[in-house]
């Protein structure tokens, strides 16, 4: 198994996540795209950890933390979306333009 094959998978997922973040209108789906990006990052980390045969397994442990934090972030994100929905009655980001200058 080459190193690069895993990394390319990670890169592809990351790019797709980026595409999703920019393209999607629904706030929840934007969050989902962010999740995709984070998953791609995890793949990268674990791959390098295994490739480098790190004694401390810092890659894997770091990816564990990322998972935990991603979960927390999604929780908060959903809560915020719910708040906005209560306020604006919509989850469509096109209509959430209160910050428009």
């Amino acid at each position: 198994m080459t190193l690069v094959q895993f990394l390319i998978v990670g890169a592809a997922l990351f790019s797709m996540g980026l595409y999703g973040v920019i393209t999607r209108k629904n706030a929840v789906l934007i969050l989902a795209s962010v999740e995709l990006m984070l998953a791609a990052v995890n793949i990268n980390l674990v791959t390098f950890d295994v490739y480098l045969q790190d004694v401390l397994h810092s890659g894997q442990i770091f990816s564990l933390f990322i998972i935990a934090l991603a979960a927390a972030e999604v929780g908060i994100g959903i809560a915020i979306i719910l708040m906005i929905f209560r306020n604006q009655r919509t989850a469509d980001v096109d209509e959430l333009t209160l910050m428009k200058g």
């Binding site: 690069v4 094959q5 920019i22 929840v28 933390f65 989850a91």
Partner: protein, 179 residues
């Protein structure tokens, strides 16, 4: 140790890799392009599952199971709850993405990003092989977490606590202003 393309296909692990990777990629793509919101989230499930499988391939069992439990088990649930409560448009014809004007540049951007990263990777690591390895033992990982990485562990615990409290605070109904 470098590997050539023919070597790639000779190794059985790589075949397994391809079997896992291609659906993962497809699922990832469908997540960001599907018009059906529920399907999009479920494609995310597949993508995440695929990444967990990749972890298993790499011997990172604990991480893989954590992904399954946390991501697929909990995060997806949150997404589905979010979809339900925000009365997102369910059904096939939902207009979930921006129009062509946004999609084209975004596609360009993503492609460029992918290209740049891949170019960088190939430039640096072309055909480097992963040496044979033992699967990472959970015992070993847990010892490391509570030994070397105990402080980040505690910090993350606090973050989770904060997220918990924040979530509750956010999701409460506004109280009536006392008159």
């Amino acid at each position: 140790m470098t590997v050539t393309v023919s070597d790639f296909f000779r190794e059985s692990a790589n075949w397994a890799f391809l079997v896992i990777a291609i659906p993962t990629l497809y699922a990832g793509w469908r997540t960001v392009s599907s018009n059906n919101i529920v399907r999009a989230v479920l494609y995310l499930v597949v993508a995440l599952g695929g990444s967990a499988a990749l972890f298993f391939m790499l011997g990172a069992e604990f991480v893989g199971w954590t992904v399954v439990l946390v991501y697929i088990g909990a995060v997806i649930i949150l997404f589905l709850i979010g979809i339900m409560i925000t009365r997102a448009p369910l059904g096939q014809e939902a207009d979930l993405s921006h129009d062509r004007n946004v999609k084209a540049p975004a596609a360009l951007l993503s492609t460029v990003m992918f290209g740049v990263i891949t170019w960088g990777l190939l430039d640096a690591f072309s055909n480097e092989a992963i040496a044979p390895f033992e699967p990472t033992s959970t015992n070993e990982l847990s010892l490391l977490i509570f030994d070397r990485f105990v402080i980040p562990f505690e910090v993350v615990s606090f973050v989770l606590l904060a997220a918990l409290i924040g979530g509750i605070a956010l999701a409460r109904k506004d109280e009536e202003v006392a008159s």
